[in-house]
Structure formats: C-alpha cells, structure tokens
C-alpha cells in the first residue's frame, strides 16, 4: 500500500520472513528428525544416521502401503480425468441452461467434510460387495478428486475459442475426431495438471481410506495415522520425508506442465 517508509518496509520484510519460517520450519524439523540416531524425538539430533530409512525398507507393511498409495493414486487420477473431462466438456460447451448447475454439483464433494462422504459410502460399498477392495478406495477417492480435474479442464476449455472445434466439424471431423485432434491437444496440459492434482488428493486422503480400506489395501496416510495414534517414533519421520519429497516432485511436474500458458504466476 502506502508503506514506503523505511520502518514500514522493515516491518513488512519481518512479517514475510516470519510467515516463511512458520510455513517451512515444521517440515524441515520432520526431515531433520528422520536422520536422528535417538530412539525418541529429542531435538536437535546428536548425530545424523540413515537408521530409520533402513528400518522403513525392512518393513513390508510400509512398502505395501506405499505401493497401494501409488496404485490407488494412479487409478484415481485416471478415473477422475475421465469423469472430470466429460463433465467439463458438457458444462462449458453445451449451451443448455439446465446443465450449468451441474457444475456446482460436481465440485460439491471438494467442499464437504470427507467424514460425511465416508460414512455414506461405507454401507454403499458394503451393498455392492466392494468393501475393503482397491476398487472401493479408488471409487471413493475419485469422488473427491474429480472436482480438481473438472476445474483445471474447465479453465483450459475456456482458454480458447470453441470455433476451433466447430471448424474441425465443418471440415468433416466427427465428434470423436474433433475431440482427439483439436480439443485434446488444447486441453492436454490442463488435463495433465488436473490428473496430478487428483493423484495428490488421493495420495494424502485419510478419511475415505479409514472407512473403505482394510490392512491389505491400506494407504500410506492410513498406516501413518495408525502409527501416530500409538507412538511418534522416528520411522514416521522417515516415511514423512519420503512422502514430502514425492509430493514436491509431483508439484514441480505440475508447475512445469503449466508453464507454457501461464503468464502471471499469481493468477
């Protein structure tokens, strides 16, 4: 604003620095604790060792949960990309008025507490005989992940002139061909970013996994949760560090994919 004075500038810089520390420091502490040589979480660690990572790799349960999370995340991303693209196309390209409110329905699961969806889905999956299967977790995760694909693909579809598709159809392309050769290349990066977001949502989802998974299909957040309610040993810090690293890589991929059509980083 008007804070052009030296005092104002110093106050502003201090505030921003404190915020950066507030946001980052807790995560750095987790990373540091994962290398501790102690059995408990004394801070700071006296010596840095890889002991907890070794313990992690020796435990088949963590490995299984990690694998489950990746499989469930990938399938969730695929299903959400299909659902999200179909609904985004219908909502943005169909001129009909009654379709617009459906957009709000599609993004609604993002705003609702997951626990409500979870206690409703549990008996539904039971009825369908799907309980504790991978399918149950994937279907549940896709409900809360689809809104992200829907919003990114909708933004991509609004970003160019629909006359391009019309031109393709005028030139004789059918619906599928105009989608495959015109729409898909135009929304490709938006769709990929949406897919990554959907994966990330699934990768961090706890509530639905608590209700819909069993020890065989459990995901990393669920296993982390189970361990956290008992102890907070450094093994958890090691797992957490790996998860944070993986999430950062995913995000970087999303940023790189988005770069070409992003002009203003704040929008």
């Amino acid at each position: 604003m008007t804070a052009g004075t030296l005092g104002g500038r110093i106050a502003g810089a201090t505030l921003i620095t404190l915020l950066v520390i507030f946001l980052i420091a807790p995560l750095l502490v987790v990373v540091l604790m994962s290398f501790t040589d102690q059995l408990y979480l004394a801070f700071p660690p006296t010596e840095l060792v890889l002991r907890w990572y070794r313990a992690l790799l020796d435990d088949p349960r963590w490995l299984q949960a990690g694998w489950n999370s990746i499989v469930i995340g990938t399938m969730t991303a695929a299903l959400s990309m299909l659902l999200g693209t179909m609904s985004a196309l219908a909502v943005t390209r169909s001129g009909r008025a009654w379709i617009q409110p459906i957009g709000s329905l599609i993004v609604a699961p993002m705003m609702l507490p997951h626990v409500i969806i979870a206690i409703g889905l549990y008996p539904t999956m039971l009825d369908l005989g799907l309980n504790s299967t991978y399918a149950a977790v994937i279907i549940g995760h896709a409900v809360v992940a689809t809104p992200l694909v829907f919003t990114t693909v909708t933004a991509a579809l609004r970003g160019y002139d629909p006359a391009l598709e019309l031109a393709a159809m005028t030139l004789g392309a059918n619906g599928w061909r105009s989608f495959r050769y015109v729409t898909l290349p135009m929304i490709g990066s938006g769709l990929a970013v949406g897919g990554i977001f959907a994966f990330a949502v699934s990768f961090d989802e706890l509530m639905l996994a608590l209700f819909l998974a069993n020890p065989r299909t459990e995901t990393l957040p669920r296993l982390l949760w189970e361990h956290l309610s008992q102890t907070i040993t450094p093994v958890i810090a090691a797992v957490a560090t790996m998860v944070l690293l993986f999430t950062s890589l995913l995000l970087s991929a999303a940023v790189l994919l988005r770069r070409p059509d992003a002009e203003d980083p704040a929008t």
């Binding site: 604003m1 008007t2 502003g12 505030l15 921003i16 950066v20 507030f22 946001l23 807790p26 502490v29 987790v30 604790m33 979480l41 004394a42 801070f43 659902l83 179909m86 196309l89 219908a90 169909s94 001129g95 009909r96 379709i99 329905l105 599609i106 609604a108 705003m111 609702l112 507490p113 997951h114 626990v115 409500i116 969806i117 206690i119 409703g120 008996p123 279907i139 549940g140 409900v143 689809t146 059918n174 619906g175 990768f203 961090d204 706890l206 509530m207 982390l224 949760w225 956290l228 907070i232 958890i236 957490a240 998860v243 944070l244 999430t247 995913l250 995000l251 940023v255 980083p265 704040a266």
Partner: protein, 287 residues
C-alpha cells in the same frame, strides 16, 4: 453427434451431443455421492425407529451440542487468526513483482499440497514436552519448566492455521492485485492520510477477497479431523472426530448420521452463501 445426424428434421445445434457426456459423471455422482449422502440423512431419521428421536438426543442430551458449538468456536477462531495474519501478508505479497512474487506463490500454493497428516505430526514434534517450542520458551525466559502445549486449543489452532492459511491468502492476494494503485494515489493527492486511505479505499476494495477467504477457511475448518485429533488429543473434540468415534468405537450409526446431517446442513448453507457472494463479486466487476 451421431444423434444429430439421424434426426435430420430438427435443426442441428452446436453442442447438442455434449449433454450426453454427462450421463457417466452424473450416474457416478448419483451412486457414489448423492445416494451415500441421502442415506446418511435417511438413517438419522429412520434408525432405530422413524422419527426425530436421534436429533432430540443429539440436541438435548449428552455432550453432542457442546461439541457442535465447540466446532463452530474453533472454526471461527482459526478463521479470525488466518484473516489477521493473512491480510497484511497478502497486502505485501500483492505488491511484489518478479522472483519474490514467484517464490511466495510457490510457497503458498506448495504448502496447500503438503500432507495434512504429516504437517500435524510436525507440530506434534515441535509441541512435545521437551520439544523445540518448549526449549525456546525456556531459553527466552518465558517459563522455567516445560508447559503443556499439546492437547490444548492453542495447539489445535496453530496446527489448523498452518494448513488453512493458504486458503485465506490466495483469494486475498488475487483481489488485492486487482486494486488499481492509481486509486490510492488519487486518494493521497486529495489529502487522505494513510489510515483514512486504508479505511476508505483499500479495505473496501479488498473486501471480496476477505469474504471469499473467510468463507473458504471457515467451511473447510468445520470438517477438520486430522489436526484436532492429533494435536488436541481426546480433550478437544470437533464434529468430524465425534462422527468418526460414534461409528468406530460406539458403532452408533444413527447418532453419527444425525451429527453428520447437522454438519452437512451447516456446510451446504455456507457453501450456498459463498457461491452467491462469488457470483455477486463477478457481477460487480462486470458492471
């Protein structure tokens, strides 16, 4: 499209076929979203016997109503802290250009994606009896022996603010970046002092962002489960924890469904207001 070709009597309309694409998503949401929600509501009034008995129990006996109020209280406190901290931070960030802006954006958006379970775990480490925060408090002379931070409302609030702050910052920054600096310059030339300039020009122009951020943080905070469970222990129970506990420990589905329905209603009403405000904001900017 094939449909449009077979019925040649009706004029061909652009985008007719697109509506058909909704079949799969709508069927999916009907079975795996709307039906489950309906069934939660139905169970709260039909089980164990039809009527509002479960609601009477939730509203008039036991700790349920108190927990619902506590949930609102925590959500309001967290929203207030997010706004107080977020407003000045957003105002400063909104004026940034080039790489500082890019770093701030990356930091804010990035932290949005970091695991909530892991971040709450991080605060558990920091808030331990002999954790970093207690060590700092002792070193700075605020206290002689470690104070209990875990299992207090303070711990829950800090943990939730850490997770929800980006939801406040992003709409605030987006709105503040749209404020025309010439308006502030004009106000200054016309003799307004900084306080007046802020109250009469900057604050009113930033209000849409305040509204959006406040609603977003409050709605999200209402359904929080992970952070209050880990940092509050059993002492500070929020609605989502209550629902999970009724099902998981007491196997009392009707009560869980009744509390869930109340929470659902709250969220839906607020979400409706939020979309209304957002639409009014768009309409205003188009005028």
């Amino acid at each position: 499209m094939a449909l449009a070709l077979t019925r040649t009597t009706r004029p061909w309309v652009i985008g007719r076929g697109y509506a058909l694409l909704l079949l799969f998503p709508c069927a999916y949401l009907a079975v795996f979203f709307l039906w489950p929600l309906t069934r939660v509501v139905l169970r709260s009034v039909l089980d164990p016997k039809p009527g509002l008995g479960t609601y009477a129990k939730v509203l008039f006996t036991g700790p349920y109503l108190q927990i619902l109020f506590y949930t609102l209280e925590v959500a309001a406190l967290v929203t207030a802290v997010c706004l107080l901290v977020g407003y000045p931070v957003a105002a400063i960030t909104a004026r940034m250009r080039g790489w500082p802006l890019r770093i701030m954006t990356a930091l804010i958006v990035g932290s949005l994606w970091m695991s909530a379970v892991i971040r709450s775990y991080a605060w558990m480490i920091l808030f331990q009896r002999f954790g970093v925060v207690n060590q700092m408090l002792i070193a700075l002379g605020f206290t002689d022996e470690p104070v209990r931070i875990l299992q207090t409302m303070t711990a829950v609030t800090i943990g939730m603010v850490h997770i929800l702050l980006p939801f406040m910052l992003l709409p605030l920054i987006a709105t503040m970046r749209r404020i025309d600096p010439n308006l502030l310059r004009a106000g200054r030339i016309l003799g307004a002092n900084p306080v007046r300039l802020f109250l009469r020009v900057y604050l009113p122009l930033s209000l849409p962002g305040v509204q959006a951020g406040t609603m977003l943080v409050f709605i999200t905070a209402l359904g929080f489960f992970i952070t209050p469970s880990l940092l509050g222990g059993g002492r500070t129970m929020m609605a989502a924890m209550l629902i999970e506990q009724e099902v998981d420990i007491f196997l009392d589905w009707p009560t869980a469904c009744a509390v869930a329905t109340v929470l659902l209603l709250f969220t839906l009403v607020l979400y409706f207001i939020y979309t209304r405000l957002a639409r009014a904001d768009v309409a205003r900017s188009l005028r």
